[in-house]
């Protein structure tokens, strides 16, 4: 109830911004469906390796474990960015967004290295149904993270220029939701693609 009162004072503009935030939430719902189909495909095809290499032989868990903790931390720091924003701390907001984006960048760096390693070992996207499903699922997540990094960088520049306004506030809220969402997707990639493969 106190929440409703606190929000009602800047009504018109605020409602538009929260509606846009809900619109983004609905986009994430459709993204859940996209990842659901990719996970379903992977789980169904995980046995079809066409006598080629299997994941357990080639996957190097050390790199995967490191990137998992990098993405977890990144999700946390994007939350800290939100806290700084709610306190009106522009410097803190930019700092934590930058830390999140850099952690995301190191995640992508590790992922690209992993893919190069796999291709060198003879497992590319056309090797077998297993590897097609693997690269499509893991690659789609990596693409999402890459887009998020570009997007986050753009928001950092916009905040540096315009400061914390209702519009930039909404954008930070949305990117941090997106970032938590990507971390949640990665938890399932880590569990179902990697942990279940090497166990």
């Amino acid at each position: 109830m106190s929440q409703a009162n606190a929000h009602s004072h800047d009504h018109g503009h605020h409602d538009q911004e929260s509606l846009k935030q809900f619109g983004f939430w609905l986009f994430m719902i459709t993204d859940v469906i996209l990842f659901a189909t990719l996970f379903a495909t992977f789980v169904v095809l995980r046995g079809n390796t066409a006598s080629g290499p299997i994941g357990a032989e080639l996957i190097e868990m050390n790199g995967i474990i490191v990137s998992t903790f990098i993405l977890l931390t990144s999700s946390f720091t994007s939350g800290l960015a939100l806290l700084s924003m709610n306190k009106g701390d522009k410097k803190g907001l930019i700092l934590w967004l930058a830390v999140s984006a850099l952690l995301g960048l190191s995640f992508i760096y590790l992922e690209v290295n992993e893919f190069i390693h796999l291709v060198h070992e003879g497992a590319n996207i056309g090797t077998s149904a297993y590897w097609s499903a693997f690269f499509t699922l893991v690659g789609t997540h990596g693409l999402h993270v890459s887009i998020g990094i570009v997007w986050m960088t753009a928001i950092i520049f916009q905040i540096a220029k315009r400061g914390i306004t209702p519009v930039t506030k909404r954008k930070v809220n949305i990117i941090s939701l997106y970032w938590h969402f990507l971390d949640a997707v990665w938890i399932f990639v880590f569990s179902i693609v990697y942990l279940m493969e090497v166990m």
């Binding site: 929440q3 859940v32 469906i33 659901a36 996970f39 789980v43 977890l72 166990m199």
Partner: protein, 109 residues
């Protein structure tokens, strides 16, 4: 768990506190380490390990939703929660339905 949720609710109007983010972060690290240790040390048999991996993954998803995405702090009507439940319903239908069909239709193997 109940007391944590309670304190979380009290800080609801500020859209999360530092405390709730730190609790969420620590929980998600613990929930990552548990299946990792179980898998790397071959501590349990295959089906037990699968259950541990899935349960900790779902719990960690809930941690993200409650402590990071603040799903509990939503104003009524709860459009976000309802659309999320719809998404989970679709997700389970697609994933479990595909596995179910393909388990009894392994023509390629």
């Amino acid at each position: 768990m109940a007391s944590q949720n309670h304190s979380h609710e009290e800080t609801g109007h500020t859209h999360g506190s530092l405390k709730s983010y730190i609790i969420g972060f620590v929980l998600s690290i613990v929930l990552t380490i548990i299946p990792l240790v179980a898998v790397m040390n071959d501590m349990f048999n295959k089906s037990t390990t699968i259950v541990i991996i899935l349960v900790t993954a779902v719990l960690q998803f809930l941690v993200q939703l409650l402590f990071f995405m603040h799903i509990r702090e939503e104003d009524k009507p709860r459009y976000n929660s309802i659309s999320l439940i719809f998404a989970i319903l679709l997700l389970l239908t697609i994933v479990i339905g595909s596995i179910w069909i393909m388990t009894y239709n392994q023509v390629a193997v």
